[in-house]
Structures are given as structure tokens and as C-alpha cells.
Amino acid sequence: MDIRSQIAMVFHLDKCIGCHTCSVACKNIWTDRKGAEYMWWNNVETKPGTGYPSKWEDQKIYKGGWEKKDDSIQLKSAGHLKGLTKLYHNPDMPTIDDYYEPWKYEYDSLFEAPEGSDQPTARPVSLITGNPIDIKAGPNWDDDLGGSPDYARNDVNLHNISAEDKEAMFQLERMTFHYLPRMCNHCLNPACVAACPSGAVYKRGEDGVVLISQEKCRAWRLCITACPYKKTYYNWSSGKSEKCLLCFPRLESDQAPACMHSCVGRIRYLGVMLYDADKIKEYASCNEDELIDKQLDIYLNPFNEDIIRKAQKNGIADSTIEAAQKSPVYKFVKEWGLALPLHAEFRTLSNLFYVPSLLPVIGKMNDGTYESTSENLWGNIEETRLPLKYLANLFSVGDTNRIALVLRKLMTVRYHRRKVTVNDIDAKIVDTAFSETGYNAEIADAIYRLTSLVKYDERFVIPPAHREEAIEMLNSTDDHKGETGFGEKKGTRRVF
């Protein structure tokens, strides 16, 4: 058993209001640079929709992630030999047209245009060529189901949904959508790391953050193909690949990543998970129907004495173990079974979990009129406006039972709270719900608390980065104390 610690996240989709504050916070800090304008390390997609880059989930197009081969796994379109033959030209790499051409507006012409009979305009000009362009696409072009015929209807997750269900989804009265905020999952079995021939992409041992060394990147661009979530981006100007770095400078100083800190809906949770690194390969190679169970299994119980002892022996700080015990992610994912990984079939063992949204469930069509009431207080799950299969394709490798159970659990919490606060439902309903889901009043209250009331410190349980030891990462303490202000990054050591 090789216990390591990993920063993991939960996004509670029921709470996402689709305001894109997270994306903008990230953009302002990290990607408002030449060559990075088109990058959205964090983005919020409307589902159903094709996402960013367009249809990223369709691995028949992008060939990302791992695939099972016999008892093992291999990268779909990269790897030792496959990768090296693709250096000169990589047929499976998205180009800028799969994202959009970044632009700005010629605002100065509003002030400087000569007097004339027309109003001056601020034309859009490409940030690549500097020439005026016709904007064809932009970030969130399909926000809130805009342009549905082109976007929502081409959602990759509609692939095994019956034609009637699909049609029903797009009837105006039944139309529904939810938001899917996405960022790098800092996977346990990252495809980007495995695909990088230069060894520039790596996982940080201490907290599992996946980073790209800008010094070592040689623009072989295989990480971009390999990441099934398309969360590595190529900077066309610097000739280096870049990706979300989980705001590690903020994490190290006990601040939540910018996207999470700024999240208006407070949907984001971050915490430590302990996991067994020896199991990664085996679990990532299991059968598709076991994938989620196995992945949940890889995370260890931080309260178990034996696990704690082994973790300590592996050099994990007590404060990190303590953080793992308080981790909201552990609660959502392991204790309550409410959060699921996105597209576990990509086999990267992602560390970002989603609590699926419950709201599209209510209401149903009756003789052509839409009714938001039903005998059943919150409608029932089987009559959802968004077919269960659709959510299952996103979050449970197509297993509708698993997604239904999660929705029922979410419902149970609501029944219970309704009983407590309004007391207009039968205690029997609540009890049935409890026995079906294995919850009780205590758990339901805890979920309610962590969902609705939590403050910053409970949403983000960041393990201390031990700043007092931080200098040891770069220098020996002995040397450091005498050279404050004199240290040089490159040093003066001779070349040979």
C-alpha cells in the first residue's frame, strides 16, 4: 500500500447558477495573455450542448483518454510508439477552429474616427492576425441553450437515448438544461502525463496537482490529444502547452483556488483524499461497469487507525491527515455517495466529482400543458424532463440505477427538511425515503448543512502547505539563512 494525498473537488450542480464568475476569475488571473486568450482552464457548459472545444466528449473525434486492452489499458492515441510517430503532425489534435478565434474590439475608432455621417463602430479584430473578422463562435456560444439545433441537439451524451425521448427533450415546454462547470480533474491516472514525451507534464507528489513544466515542454502537443477532457491547451504564441494549475500558489497559502473562492453559487468544495497509489493501474483497467465502484474504492478511510499509521510512514503530515478527516469531498463522495465523477469511462480516475442536479426532475406534460405540480410532492424521478439515461451517460457510465439512487438521496434530504421546517408531509414518506437510501435524520441534516449553510472554511479544507518548511523546496535552510536577498534562481555554479 502506497498512500498518497490528493486534492479533490466536488461541484454541486444543483447550486450552479451559470454565472461564469469562476471562468472570469480564472481568466483574469491566469489566461489573459497572448496565445492564451482562447483558453478557458475553467469553463461552464450548458448541458445539453456540445461543450468546449466543440464535442470534446466524442473520443471518436478527439481520441483522448485510455482504452482497455486485454487486462491493461493504453492511451487511445498516444503512448510510447504511437506518440512518437505523431510528432511531426498530430492528426488527432484539435485546432483553433474547434475552439474559436480570439478577438478584441477596435474601441479606439469610437474616439478617433473622423467626423462623418455614420456612427463610428468598434469592429472586432482577430487577436491572431490583427485583421477584422466575422465572429463565428466564442466562449459559451451555446449558453442557456442558445442555438440549440446546432449545439444541444448534437450533444454527445444523447447517443443511446431513444428517438422519442430525444424529441421530447427538445419540445419547448419540456426543454431543460443544467450547467456543467469544468476544469482539470487532476486525475490519479492522468493521460496527459502519460502522453508527454518530454516528461514536462507531471503530478506533484505532495498534493497531486497536475502541472506542465514550461521549461521542459517542447510542444510535441500529445497532452492535448491525450486529455479526454480537453483541459490542456496549446499556447500558439509561446509554443508551450498550458493547463489549470489548481491555483497552487493560492493553495500553498491557504486560499481556495480563484474559481472556487469566487463561486457565487458556492457550489464548489475542495478537500484532501488519501488514496492507494499501488491500485491505480489495476483499478483503471477494470471492466466498465465496475469503474465507479473501483474508483470510489481507491480512496481510503482517513479515520482508520491502520491507514493513518501507513500514511504517516509514507511521509504524509499529520495536518494533512487531519484535513482529510474534515474533507467535505470525502463526505460527499464516500460517506454519502452523492457525488460521481464525470465520464469515468475515460479511465483517468478524475478527482472532480459532481452532485448531479435534481431540479429538472419536477413537472410533467399533461394534455399539452405543462404542469409543475403532481400528486407526488416533487414529481417522480422516472418522469424527469431530462432522461435519466442522459445524466447516466455523463456521470455513471450509462448506469441509470446509480444516478437514480443519487437523485433519490437528494430527494430524501428535501423530504426530511420539508418535514422539519414546514411539516406538511407525512412522516411515513420520510421514513420510506430513509429506508430506501440508508440515510437517517442525522445524515440528512449534515447534507443539508454542507449543501446550504456552509462557510468558507467548511467548503474548503485546505491542508497546510507548511510554509515554514517551504524554503526547503528550493534551498538548504543552512544556506538560506545567510543569503537572504543574495540567492539567485539559476545559481552561479559553473556549467561544466
Partner: protein
Amino acid sequence: MIDAFLFIGLPYTVTFLFVIGSILRIRNYGYSVTSHSSQFLESNNLFWGSRFFHSGIILIILGHIIGFLLPKFVIWFTTNPIGLFIIELSAFAFAIISLIGILILIFRRIFVKRLYSVTSIMDIVVYVVLATQIITGLLIAYQLSWGSVWYASSMVPYLKSLCMFSPDMSVISSMTLLVKMHVITAFTLIGLIPFTRLIHFVSYPFFYIWRSYQLVIWNKNQKTMRVSKNTREGIKPKNN
């Protein structure tokens, strides 16, 4: 005098520049080393251009290296007319392929406006020198036939003499202007490597072939950090 400068001074200078320059650039300015891929901005023409150019040029360079290392073998192989034919024909074909490739690459740079923003002056220099190199090579093959034989028998001794530090210019001085040009641009290319995008193939990722797929880097190596004899002068913890 001018010959001595071009065929003795130049090769030693460019070799020095290449070796020292490449080491310094990769070691100290790693951030600047990249293939500067432009595939993200234009992919379809690059497919033909880059694949043709690279497969052609790499095989041609390999051919030159084999001829240099094993001249006896090449001479033996080419005494047989079939062997001669095979070598000459394939070399010519690879050269044509790389010529087509570089022409596609150059036209792509000219006609795809998006690429202007990622084309530097040094890129243009590289295109010009490379194109000259390939074209002179092809002209030589066309005009002075059986290049594989006389390369092995006449040019290799000259290159060897350079390597042995007893330069012998007698052969090269008597070559035609075309051959001289080909040799000079070849030296120029070697010298350009550390100062241009050509540095990208010096950092070819050989190690990937036997590297395990997952790569985990720890910032702190607790073991080496806490050993007192390491704290001064000795091994500094090397974070990424």
C-alpha cells in the same frame, strides 16, 4: 585563403557553436526550446508539408551520416550496379520528398495569414538556408552523377580529416562551385541550430521510450534534505 576560412574555419566554428550553444540553450534557457508547432493554427497543409519534409530530410541526413561512418561499406555496396541504383534512386526520391515538403511549408507560411504572427525572422532564415541546401543537393545529384560513390570516396576523407584535426582541403578545393555551396550551407545549418527553431530536434524525446507512463515529482526529498552533510555546498534539493 577564402577556402581556408570556409572549409576549415567555418566547420570548426559551427561545431563549437552547435555543441556549446545547444548545451547552454537547453540547460539554461529551456523555456525557449520548443518545436514551435503551428499545427494549432493550420493543420491540413502542415500534414503534407511536415510529414513529407521531415521524413525526407531525416532519411537524407541519416544517409549522409551512414556514408560518413561507413564509407567502405557504401563503396562496396555501390560497386554492384543494382546497389548503386537503389541508393541513388532512394536518395533522390527522399530529396524530392523533402523539397516538396519544404515548399508546402514555405507556401503555407506565405498564404495562411494566421501564421504571420508566429513566424520570426530566424524562421525565414531557416527556410531559405534549408531550401538552398535541398535544391543544391538535388542539382548535384542531377549534374554530378553517382554522388553516393564520390561522397564516400572524396568528401568523407575531407570530413574525416577535419575530425582528426589535420584538415586536408585538397579535394574540396577542386570541387565545383555547386558542391562548395552545398557544403557551406550544410555548415551554416549546423551553426544555426542553437539560434533557431532547429534546436527542436536536439531535444528529441528518446527517453520517453523507456520511461514509465506516470510521472510524480516531489518538491521536497525528505531523505536528502535531512542529511546534514548535504546541507551546504553539496546536493541541493532539486525541485522541478
